[in-house]
C-alpha cells in the first residue's frame, strides 16, 4: 500500500528531473549564461523577482488581460458557433471571415490593433481574436453532432425550438466547447504575451520580457518565461476543474 504513493511521486517527478538535468548539462557545457543560463541562476533570478511588489503587479495585469481576452474570445466563439450552425445567412457571412481571421499571422493582428486601440488593450483583443475561431469551430461541430435519430425524436415528441436546443443540441455541444476552450487557452497566453512584448504596456509580463531581451538579461528572460508557463498551466488546470464540475452537474436541463 505504501509503495503506491511513492511510485506516483516518482512517475510525476521523473520527467521534471530528467529535463532539468538536461538543461543543467547543456548550460554547463555551453558555460555562457548570456546564451543559456542554468536552472540555478534562472530560479534564483525568479526568487528575487518574486520578492518584489512590481513582479506581482506585472503578473496581475497580464493575467487580467489574458483572462479578459479569453472570456471575450469564448463569448465571440460561442455566439458565432450558434449563429453559423442555425442561420445560413450568418454562416455565409461569418464563416469565411473567421477562417481568414484564423490564418492571419498574430504579428499582423498586433501591429494593426496597435494602430486602432491603445497599447493596454491590444493583448486583450489579440487573445480574444486567437480564441474566437478555435471555440467557434468546436461549438459549430458540436451543434452539428446530434444524429438524425435524436432530432427526429425531438420533432416527433413536439419539442419546441428552445427545448430542443437545451436538451439535444446543448449537451452535444458542451464537450466540444470544453475542448475548444482548453485548447485555445495556450493560444491566448502565447498571443497575449507576444502582444505585450510588441506593445510594451506599462505593467505587463511581456514588457518585462522585452526589457530583458533589450538589456540582454537572459536569466531574467528565462525567469519571466517560467512565470508565463506556470501561469498558463495553473489557469488551464483551474479552467479544466471548473469545466469538469460543470459537466458533472448532469444533463437534465429540461
Amino acid at each position: 500500500m505504501r509503495g503506491k504513493p511513492l511510485k506516483t511521486l516518482i512517475r510525476l517527478l521523473a520527467p521534471a528531473v530528467f529535463w532539468l538535468g538536461l538543461w543543467l548539462l547543456a548550460a554547463a557545457l555551453i558555460d555562457q549564461p548570456l546564451f543559456l543560463p542554468g536552472p540555478g541562476l534562472v530560479f534564483s533570478t525568479l526568487w528575487e523577482l518574486l520578492g518584489t511588489g512590481r513582479f506581482w503587479e506585472h503578473v496581475l495585469w497580464t493575467l487580467l488581460r489574458v483572462v479578459s481576452g479569453t472570456l471575450l474570445g469564448v463569448l465571440g466563439g460561442v455566439s458565432a458557433g450558434v449563429l453559423t450552425a442555425f442561420l445560413p445567412p450568418a454562416d455565409a457571412l461569418l464563416s469565411p471571415a473567421l477562417r481568414v481571421g484564423r490564418a492571419v499571422p498574430v504579428a499582423s493582428f498586433i501591429v494593426l490593433l496597435l494602430l486602432w486601440v491603445g497599447s493596454d488593450w491590444v493583448p486583450v483583443a489579440v487573445s480574444a481574436m486567437m480564441v474566437t475561431p478555435v471555440v467557434w469551430e468546436d461549438v459549430r461541430a458540436g451543434l452539428a453532432s446530434p444524429g438524425h435519430d435524436l432530432l427526429e425524436m425531438a420533432r416527433a415528441y413536439g419539442m419546441g425550438r428552445f427545448r430542443r436546443f437545451r436538451t439535444v443540441y446543448l449537451p452535444a455541444a458542451l464537450p466540444y466547447c470544453r475542448t475548444g476552450i482548453l485548447s485555445s487557452l495556450g493560444l491566448a497566453w502565447k498571443s497575449g504575451v507576444a502582444a505585450e512584448v510588441l506593445c510594451t504596456p506599462r505593467r505587463a509580463v511581456g514588457t518585462q520580457v522585452y526589457y530583458a531581451k533589450l538589456y540582454l538579461e537572459t536569466p531574467s528572460l528565462f525567469a519571466w518565461t517560467v512565470t508565463v508557463v506556470a501561469l498558463s498551466l495553473l489557469l488551464e488546470k483551474a479552467v479544466r476543474r471548473a469545466l469538469r464540475k460543470k459537466e458533472g452537474g448532469g444533463g437534465d436541463a429540461a
Binding site: 420533432r155 416527433a156 415528441y157 413536439g158 436538451t167 449537451p171 452535444a172 444533463g251
Partner: protein, 192 residues
C-alpha cells in the same frame, strides 16, 4: 385509419406498392411479419414522418400521434426522469409514467447506467407520458428486451390511455396481448 393505394420507396427499393389497408380505430392491433418487410415504414407513414410518393394516408398526423421508435432514442447523459421532463409540459411530474413501467426507483439514474431492457422501459414511459391529448399510439417493437411480466403491466397502462394502439412485434407474447393481429410479407408489403 386507412392507407389507400400508397406507394413508397427508399431510393430504388420499393417498400409499399399500391398498398391499401384499413386499420381498426380502437384497441391494440399488432403488425406481424419478417424483419424488413415494411412494418416500420408503415408506422412511419402513419405517423407522418414519411410522405408517400403516391396514394393517401388517413391518420391523425404527427402532432396527434405518439411514436415509440424501434431504437430507444434516449437523450445521452439525461436521467430517466430527465428523458420524460424533456417531453412533458413544464413542471409536470414524470414519476407516474416511470411507475407505470416499474422504474420509479431509477428516476434519478442516468440512462447510461441502465440495462438495455430498462432503457426500453424508459422509452416506453416517455411515450406514455407524451400520450395525453393524442389520438394514436404507434409502437415499433415495444417490448424488445422487456421481460414478460413487465410487458403485461406496461400494456395494461397503455390500454388505460384508451387510444388506438398499433404495434409491430415478432414475439408470440406481444402478439397474444393484441386484439387484432395482421400478418404481412414483403417488401413490397403485402397482407397475408
Amino acid at each position: 385509419m386507412r392507407l389507400e393505394n400508397v406507394t413508397f420507396a427508399y431510393g430504388d427499393k420499393v417498400i409499399l406498392r399500391d398498398f391499401t389497408l384499413e386499420l381498426p380505430d380502437a384497441g391494440v392491433t399488432a403488425l406481424s411479419g419478417p424483419s424488413g418487410c415494411g412494418k416500420t415504414t408503415l408506422l412511419r407513414l402513419l405517423a407522418g414522418l414519411e410522405t408517400p410518393q403516391s396514394g393517401r394516408v388517413d391518420a391523425p398526423g404527427l402532432s396527434k400521434t405518439v411514436i415509440l421508435f424501434q431504437e430507444d432514442r434516449l437523450l445521452p447523459h439525461f436521467t430517466a426522469a430527465g428523458q420524460l421532463r424533456a417531453v412533458l409540459p413544464r413542471g409536470a411530474d414524470p414519476l407516474p409514467a416511470l411507475a407505470a413501467v416499474g422504474l420509479e426507483r431509477e428516476a434519478d439514474t442516468p440512462v447510461e447506467a441502465l440495462s438495455g431492457g430498462m432503457r426500453r422501459r424508459v422509452a416506453l414511459a416517455r411515450a406514455l407520458a407524451a400520450a395525453p391529448g393524442k389520438r394514436l399510439l404507434l409502437l415499433d417493437e415495444p417490448f424488445t428486451g422487456v421481460d414478460a411480466e413487465n410487458a403485461k403491466k406496461i400494456m395494461k397502462s397503455l390500454r388505460s390511455l384508451r387510444l388506438p394502439i398499433l404495434l409491430t412485434a415478432h414475439d408470440a407474447e406481444s402478439l397474444r396481448m393484441a386484439d387484432t393481429v395482421l400478418t404481412f410479407s414483403g417488401p413490397p408489403l403485402r397482407e397475408l
